[in-house]
Symmetry: C2
Subunit: 170 residues, 2 copies
């Protein structure tokens, strides 16, 4: 299936000069969405993994159906203050300032093999922070899957320590 | 399956005196998560619907696997500024101040029958706003499904104009 034809490009969002890849048109096409989840699960099958991690918020949209389909535990990574139980936090640098992510401290165990799933690989900064959070808990990043990769932003290089798989490349 | 046993109660979150229902323990149990999605799809099957609406962010976790499983279009409702294309916005009152939600203006059509899916029915305020947003676009709320209902908050009354189904009641 030509998944690119299911993605809408919105110019100048969130700011001028950026061509935003809008996944909502794909989500509204049940065949395309099923094809996408099945293809992501197939990509994941190349790796040995115990747990799927979905980062807030668009990561939930792909990680949750994958966890449902592949029958794997789903673990959420969220912005600070959203997870109710005891968390481990990881701060990371942005272009301007810092941001932070949290995971429940009992969500993954040392030695777990973790699959990280998100919608978009841009610069890779946030995903690298997710990977570092996983490692902080003693677990291991088995691989990282994205629906879309913006190759010109070299995010794959930033994530060079991990296997990265993407379905759609721009 | 006893789904209540899969939900963790976290006391005093997000503030003192509140017993927060933590769904992450359910998500980490693949059998329980599959059972939940299957049960929600079965509840939905009682109604005639064209589209599933998932409100940000925890709504994505249940609406996306349902859309995948039931082969229905998935439409996102998000906080302002998150959706890239032209949106319709609906402002609603909170206990203190107002909040707003957005939907892509071409995401649903007049006459569409819409199923709204979210994790938790508390006071029902945000869900009522989602329903009003749907109606603003000329579509019709077929029914509203929640994983969890906090019955003592009477949210079902606030949503009295719509059929409401919930899997777990406290």
């Amino acid at each position: 299936m030509d998944l690119k034809s299911k993605i809408r490009t919105v110019e100048d969002f969130p700011k001028e000069g950026i061509s935003f890849k809008d996944i909502t048109t794909l989500l509204q096409d049940p065949e395309a969405f099923k094809y996408t989840i099945d293809a992501l699960v197939e990509l994941a099958d190349q790796y040995d993994y115990d747990v799927i991690i979905g980062p807030e918020a668009r990561g939930f949209i792909f990680s949750a159906p994958m966890a449902f389909s592949a029958q794997k535990p789903l673990v959420l990574v969220r912005k600070p203050g959203k997870l109710p139980y005891e968390t481990v936090r990881h701060e990371y640098e942005l272009e301007y300032g810092t941001d932070a992510l949290e995971i429940h401290k009992d969500a993954i165990k040392p030695g777990d093999k973790v699959l990280i799933v998100d919608d978009l690989l841009a610069t890779g900064g946030t995903t690298l922070a997710v990977a570092e959070l996983v490692e902080k808990l003693g677990a291991q990043v088995s691989s990282i899957l994205f629906l879309i990769e913006l190759t010109f932003l070299d995010g794959r290089e930033k994530l060079g320590a991990y296997p990265v798989e993407t379905l759609i490349k721009y």
